[in-house]
């Protein structure tokens, strides 16, 4: 939002984690997203979670597709390698990266467009393979970066809006993940750090594919016609250079509510969604029950948040493949080279 260089001053008073690092060591570059964008709040939660876990920053690799959401890996973990891949193709790149080095912590950041439209196939198959990574869908119901087309995800403002697009049934990443084999499925809200940070930590520690659907309002493109707070002013102008001509600064929407409770959230366009946090009695190890609960709450107009499903027993990709414990990229050539004698032996069967 500002062109000023981020200050690199150290704050001596900042709390240090087990590695002696402060939260600053887990931050990244300055965000260029719109003021108030939900994605920035998620970035903050990732920084906090990574710091609290005391994993060295270069022990992470962060990957993304293309979109506003997919830009965010530039804004956290500046000391980790990042890979901003092609639109919708992060799951495959992350799978390959993980195949090469099973020892890093992989954070994949994607958007609803990136994961549920162009990337849906890859998203599904990375889950099916149970690639050991944390996968975040920063879900705003629109294509932010291309200026606000509807995406395939749950239209988070659906109650307040009308129009043709709304009639298409949305794809719920959590229900899809349950159907497609993810071993860790959760949902949260960008403004609910209290819920999000522990979920991120759990997902990073989970051995297998951890999918968190994070509802993350887009402050700029949620001003559909008919909405009371529509930013219609700039649209009235006869001249459109690019459609998001005027983006008034907004506040990040915050949400704090307790387990078992439901919480109505008013979005930037005045529409409402109702979040429901699973409570302590909820059993996240029962997949069928999770699927049923999700559907029930959905019918009641609520969006369930929390850890919805976890299966620690499901083997991750390398376990299934019987891979060596030494990462593929660290096995010395001497152990990879079968040698010239073996080549002779192999060829003895070719005569």
């Amino acid at each position: 939002m500002s062109f000023m260089k981020k200050p690199t001053v150290r704050h001596p008073g900042l709390p240090r984690n087990d590695l002696g690092l402060t939260v600053r060591d887990y931050e990244g570059g300055m965000s260029t997203l719109c003021a108030g964008c939900g994605h920035d709040a998620i970035t903050g939660a990732i920084v906090q979670a990574a710091h609290e876990l005391s994993i060295p920053p270069h022990g992470f690799a962060k990957l993304s597709g293309i979109g506003c959401s997919s830009k965010t890996p530039a804004y956290f973990l500046g000391a980790s390698h990042g890979f901003n891949s092609c639109h919708g193709r992060m799951p495959s790149v992350a799978t390959g990266a993980n195949a090469a080095n099973r020892d890093l912590h992989y954070i994949g950041v994607s958007g609803d467009g990136d994961s549920l439209s162009i990337g849906f196939g890859q998203f599904a198959h990375a889950m099916r393979r149970n690639v050991n990574m944390l996968y975040l869908v920063e879900n705003n119901g629109v294509y932010g970066l291309t200026k606000g087309q509807f995406s395939a995800s749950a239209d988070i403002g659906s109650t307040a809006k009308k129009g043709e697009e709304n009639l298409q049934p949305p794809i719920d990443p959590c229900q899809a993940a349950l159907t497609l084999g993810a071993s860790f499925v959760a949902r949260s809200f960008s403004g609910d750090k209290e819920q999000l940070v522990p979920l991120l930590k759990a997902g990073l520690q989970h051995r297998g594919f951890g999918m968190i659907d994070i509802i993350s309002p887009c402050v700029t493109f949620n001003d559909h016609e008919g909405s009371t707070k529509s930013y219609s002013y700039s649209r009235q102008h006869f001249h459109k250079a690019i459609s998001a001509d005027f983006v008034p600064p907004s506040e990040t929407i915050k949400a704090q509510y307790s387990e078992g409770a439901s919480m109505p959230i008013e979005l930037h366009d005045g529409s409402k969604i109702i979040l429901r946090k699973v409570d302590g009695a909820y059993d996240p190890t029962d997949k069928a029950a999770a699927a049923i609960y999700l559907r029930e709450r959905q019918s009641a107009g609520e969006i369930t948040t929390g850890l919805l499903y976890i299966n620690e027993a499901q083997q991750e990709m390398h376990d299934l493949a019987g891979s060596s414990d030494t990462p593929m990229n660290q096995i010395p050539y001497e152990r990879l080279n079968p040698g010239s004698d073996m080549l002779k032996k192999i060829q003895s069967r070719m005569r």
Binding site: H81, N84, S85, S92, G96, N329, L336, L343
Partner: protein, 605 residues
């Protein structure tokens, strides 16, 4: 060509079968027995894109001089498929022999006076000798091997020892196979004047005993094992699948950790080709030698990622085992029609280093070389083979591996090097060759950078600045010029002649044979086989040194010539294309005919 008579150790046998009837083993047995005698031999398989019930042919060429192209002739046709009988009859070279199953009457309307037709009651013999339905079907194939053995006077001991080796662990099957061979052999001896005027003789020659029979895909897969490739991501597609199968097979044999039993390799069957390429880039970025294998449709699907690899500078190896045609085309036929689309795959100003092996041997060595180039140049390397090389059975010199070989991992900064640096910038080229040192995730916090396909400057930061952007793409051209000096040079033969042949990949054997024949007819020529893109100076020199250039390739749109016109100084007036693109491997006769026609035109003009 087709007027030559077959002679000892020089003949072509073609077997017409029905898909799924178990003929492959029998045909392989026949080929291998010739090979064991020391005769250079090649087996080409013309199979349908289907599993059962459609026509399929296997063609075995024996050539004492070691010409391994399709001969274009059929000296002995074994017509096991009623559906294609007419076509098969027609395709026999005058003077040749046709063998058919005489259990049933053959169509007398289909006649040829210029060939010898031999009936063997194959089904009848099998029905009488084998109890099970399965054996009756399968053994028909083995019986005709026995017939051919008698006709060509193949030493039965050679066949017997092959059978012994094959069925060492399945002795129950051994007897049946032996019986079938004997049935055929005896029947032929009894009913026809055996042997034919030309036979298969034991010969001695350099390479006998060490040479092997191998297909290019197996060789390339093996090359990837020796190169130290650890990550393989792929999606099944004919004719590339067997490359992965080869890699997998040899990994299973050589890459299980002796201590833990775990795999020192990781193969991922991807959900499609886009994902396969993404996985390879992810793994290459992360420092593993990684590759994929595919064919035309897969390369099209990988285009976006190939451009990413070029621009973000990530090592990757892609084997493109080319097949025939635009779109799905003829998946089980061969062609060299992805040259242009591979070289410039993806939108924008993108260009890729390509290697062009000509046979299994080169597939092995170039496969290994591709990984060195990929990591040295930090870019995807495309190895363009084809169905003929990849899936057919070629005589090949023994493959060797230099024990002193160490992979060229390119410029990768170590933890220690990073520790000593005050700052790391990803795309700063200090060496002047266009290649900048990279770092691997997890090495050191100072090594961290952000890989992106969007505009970036030399420091690795995002940019939309005109000059910063241009600096990067200009450096990529410096790297491109560096590549010219690193890729395999062309192979040239002869010098000083006015005529120069230029060809590529699997055209090689046909061109070489054509050259020899033309020379015998008084038309001598030089020859250059291009082995890589970008072209090195040698390619230009060869073009300059000849008054007449024949560019021989297997596609409609003269893609190799196009590439040379684009990147070199190629005088179109002195250049003639010889194009073969019907999906079958090219014959020397095709090249000779084209040259003669061109020379005749020249004289007429």
């Amino acid at each position: 060509m087709s007027t030559n008579k077959p002679s000892d150790n020089n003949f072509t046998i073609k077997i017409a079968n029905v898909n799924g009837t178990g003929s492959a083993s029998a045909n392989g047995l026949l080929m291998k027995s010739l090979f064991r005698l020391g005769i250079p031999v090649v087996g080409k398989n013309y199979f349908p894109s289907n599993i059962q019930g459609l026509p399929t042919w296997y063609e075995i060429r024996a050539s004492e001089k070691g010409y391994l192209s399709r001969s274009g002739r059929v000296d002995i046709m074994i017509a096991m498929n009623a559906e294609t009988y007419q076509k098969d009859l027609q395709s026999v070279t005058p003077g040749g022999i046709l063998i058919y199953d005489a259990t049933w009457p053959r169509n007398k309307q289909l006649q040829r006076d210029d060939i010898t037709v031999i009936g063997v009651p194959l089904s009848k013999m099998c029905n009488e000798n084998f109890p099970s339905a399965r054996a009756r079907i399968l053994m028909k194939n083995v019986v005709y091997v026995g017939v051919v053995a008698a006709l060509l006077d193949i030493d039965l001991d050679v066949i017997r020892s092959l059978l012994n080796e094959t069925f060492a662990k399945k002795v129950s099957l051994l007897d049946g196979n032996q019986l079938a061979i004997d049935l055929g052999y005896s029947y032929a001896k009894e009913h026809f004047s055996c042997p034919l005027p030309y036979t298969a003789k034991v010969i001695d020659r350099p390479g006998k005993g060490t040479d092997i029979m191998i297909d290019g895909n197996t060789a390339a897969g093996l090359g990837a094992v020796y190169a130290g490739a650890t990550v393989c991501a792929w999606y099944p597609i004919t004719p590339s699948t067997s490359l992965i199968e080869g890699y997998k097979k040899y990994c299973e044999v050589t890459r299980k950790d002796p201590d833990t039993g775990k795999n020192n390799y990781c193969i991922v069957q991807a959900e499609d080709e886009l994902a396969a390429m993404g996985m390879v880039l992810g793994a290459g970025w992360n420092g593993a030698r990684a590759f994929t294998s595919t064919s035309g449709p897969g390369v099209s699907l990988m285009s976006e990622f190939l451009g990413y690899g070029y621009f973000a500078e990530i090592p990757a190896v892609l084997f493109n085992v080319q097949r025939c045609g635009p779109s799905t085309g003829m998946p089980t036929r061969t062609q060299q029609s992805d040259i242009l689309s591979s070289a410039y795959a993806s939108h924008g100003d993108t260009r890729h280093v390509c290697l062009f092996p000509s046979d299994p041997e080169e597939s092995f060595y170039m496969s290994a070389n591709a990984f060195d180039l990929a990591e040295h140049l930090q870019t995807p390397i495309l190895v363009l083979s084809d169905l003929d090389i990849g899936m057919n059975d070629w005589l090949s010199p023994e493959l060797t591996w230099d024990e002193s070989y160490q992979p060229d991992r390119g410029q990768v900064l170590t933890k220690e090097q990073l520790e000593e640096m005050s700052v790391f910038h990803r795309y700063v080229d200090r060496s002047g060759d266009g290649v900048a040192p990279r770092t691997l995730p997890g090495t050191h916090p100072r090594g961290a950078y952000f890989t992106r396909g969007s505009g970036h400057n030399m420091y690795g930061a995002y940019t939309e600045d005109a000059n910063e952007y241009q600096q990067v793409v200009d450096r990529l051209m410096v790297k491109w010029n560096t590549a010219k000096g690193l890729v395999p040079k062309p192979i040239t033969m002869g010098s000083g002649n006015a005529i120069g042949f230029v060809s590529i990949g699997s055209c090689d054997h046909a061109v070489r044979e054509a050259r020899d024949e033309l020379a015998e007819a008084g038309i001598s020529s030089d020859y250059m086989r291009v082995r890589a893109f970008p072209f090195s100076q040698d390619v230009q020199d060869f073009l300059d040194a000849h008054d007449k250039i024949y560019v021989v390739e297997q596609n409609r749109d003269s893609q190799l010539k196009s590439l040379m016109r684009l990147e070199l100084d190629l005088d179109d007036r002195k250049t003639e294309s010889i194009l073969h693109y019907n999906g079958l491997p090219m014959t020397p006769g095709f090249v000779i005919d084209a040259v003669n026609a061109d020379l005749a035109r020249g004289e007429a003009a």
